[in-house]
């Protein structure tokens, strides 16, 4: 039997198309419990590769023959070994090229909408890490918001679309993933914007992203309007794009809200978070479609793979927007917070430009699930 090599893009397609897949995850139990490939219709079996060194006979009855089977490990090597053993037993299986490392890095660009006058809005879904980046395209120009560190994905996409990247924004100083914004700007000559209140310690030059800043993309003048919305960080800023979309950064997600503690100031920022979610956002049109910078669970994906929902619907359904009592809200977002993201302090240092780890070290820092939200 052949052993098939699957790319992260192949797996992403299965997730987005809602298809079935049986994943044999051969990482150790802790790693699997912490983080795995999520799919609506995926089934899982976790048996560490080191329990299979003497053979796979014992697990054969647990591996289905009527659906596709993908063996997954951290980097690839162990999944190849186990896949080959299964193949020798007559099973047709695949392994994930590059393992969870490549899954963590993969970005799937999905069109969210056509904008006025031929403009387009794309969401780059990083399924393995729950990060969402955006590109607004209009008549030869592009703006990028919350780019992750795989800068070539954005620059190649822009080239493919025949657009020049003019503006690069970060809604805030990220703590869960390494930003690619500054590097894309340097490479393309675009302007890089960062909220000054998050940037007091950064060691590079940037343009201030402040409340009311308006940038027009292309000659059709697609509006990108900044709206100061603190709470996750003190500088957190949202964007209203083309009067239709609200990019919320890490302040508001589909099924959760931002956590105020990743820069160590939960108590100070909880009031800002409340003000943003319960006052500032309330003043906006309910028909705006919310596009967050993260998703936490696969159920937040729409049918087409995008992560987007009407603001009015979130006011109804998102628990974090429906805590009337202020004291209860305060306790929800400061007590019993989920564990902090892997290496979040180091990641902040990288995003401030204070340390410059190599690619492998960056991968290591970003490994694991995204944990920017409170439910």
């Amino acid at each position: 039997m052949t052993v098939n090599k699957w790319t992260a893009a192949n797996v992403a397609r299965r997730v987005i198309d809602n298809e079935e897949l049986f994943i044999l995850d051969v990482r150790n139990a802790d790693a699997f419990a912490d983080w795995k490939i999520e799919g609506h219709k995926f089934e899982y079996l976790n048996i560490p590769y080191f329990e299979l060194l003497d053979g796979v006979e014992e697990i054969l009855p647990k591996i289905p023959t009527d659906k596709d089977v993908l063996v997954v490990c951290a980097k690839e090597g162990s999944s190849v070994m186990v896949a080959e053993m299964l193949s020798e037993e007559g099973r047709e299986v695949g392994y994930l090229e590059g393992g969870m490392k490549s899954w963590s890095s993969y970005l799937e660009p999905i069109k969210v909408a056509d904008l006025n006058n031929g403009g387009e809005l794309y969401q780059f879904v990083r399924l393995g890490k729950g990060c969402l980046s955006y590109m607004v395209i209009s008549e030869g120009e592009a703006a990028i918001i919350d780019a992750v560190r795989f800068t070539d994905v954005f620059t190649s996409f822009a080239k493919e679309k025949g657009v020049e990247i003019k503006h690069v924004f970060d809604t805030h100083l990220h703590a869960d993933h390494i930003s690619g914004g500054r590097h894309i700007a340097a490479e393309t000559g675009a302007t890089y914007y960062l909220p000054p209140k998050d940037a007091s310690e950064v060691v590079f030059d940037y343009t201030a992203l402040t409340d009311g800043l308006n940038v027009k993309i292309g000659s059709s003048q697609i509006d990108v309007n900044a709206l100061y919305s603190p709470g996750h960080t003190i500088g957190s800023t949202s964007f209203v794009i083309d009067n239709q979309f609200l990019l919320t950064g890490d302040i508001l997600f589909i099924d959760s809200i931002g956590r105020p503690d990743l820069a160590g100031l939960a108590e100070d920022w909880v009031g800002d978070l409340r003000e943003t979610l319960y006052t500032r956002y309330r003043e906006l049109a309910e028909d705006l479609v919310v596009l967050p910078a993260h998703f936490m669970i696969i159920d937040e994906l729409n049918e087409d793979g995008t992560v987007a929902r009407r603001l009015g619907d979130l006011f109804k359904d998102n628990h974090g927007l429906n805590i009337e009592d202020e004291a209860e809200f305060r306790s929800t977002v400061t007590d019993n917070l989920p564990p902090q993201p892997n290496a979040y302090e180091q990641i902040r240092q990288v995003n401030m430009g204070k340390i410059s780890p190599d690619n492998d070290e960056q991968t290591e820092m970003e490994i694991g699930p995204n944990r920017c939200a409170v439910r």
């Binding site: 802790d30 560490p48 590769y49 080191f50 060194l53 090597g77 070994m81 290591e364």
Partner: protein, 183 residues
């Protein structure tokens, strides 16, 4: 450097090779001996610990030096539990209030990854040749991981004329007091 009976060089090898090699190398060891595994694959730490646990070896710990991880594993025993026969025993809880010498007879690597402050290390296998380091007039409290090796050590000491010898039970597995490390 931590003492080990054998070294395995798995540097530069990616998963699953460090464990595949460790599994093979450990067959050459006698039960109770310690294997040092040198690896550069960062994932090897969690995996080796989990693997050792599933197959009954004792994962002692890991020391990082530069890019190299030095893992220490003590080969487990499949032998049935032997009846402890040395009659003078002391419960672990009492050890801190006693005067005398705590003698830790586990392997040097086990001792290095955590021992009771002030304990003297003489691995069981070296005890007979190092008796002159001990004082016959003083109380000696012999401790190991589970009480098995210390039982044998206490018998050996008595046979050699030491009279104030006690076996500390159950052993370091249950010790929840302060731990000193030599790494």
């Amino acid at each position: 450097m931590i003492q080990a009976n054998h070294q395995l060089d798995a540097k530069g090898l990616a998963c699953p090779m460090p464990i595949v090699k460790t599994k093979k190398a450990i067959t050459d060891l006698v039960e109770g001996q310690v294997l040092e595994v040198q690896a550069t694959d960062k994932g090897s730490k969690a995996d080796l610990a989990a693997w050792a646990n599933t197959v009954g070896h004792q994962y002692l710990g890991t020391v990082e030096e530069g890019d190299v991880l030095y893992h220490y594993i003590r080969k487990g025993s499949n032998e049935p539990e032997v009846e402890k026969s040395f009659e003078h025993t002391v419960p672990l809880e009492a050890i801190e209030s006693r005067k005398g010498l705590i003698l830790d007879v586990r392997e040097a690597a086990e001792y290095a990854f955590g021992h009771i402050e002030g304990a003297k290390s003489i691995p069981m296998g070296e005890l007979e040749s190092r008796l002159e380091e001990l004082d016959k007039e003083k109380e000696i409290y012999v401790i190991c991981r589970t009480g098995k090796r210390s039982d044998l050590a206490a018998q050996l000491l008595t046979k050699n004329g030491f009279s104030k010898v006690y076996n500390v039970l159950p052993g370091m597995t249950e010790w929840d007091g302060k731990i000193t490390k030599d790494i």
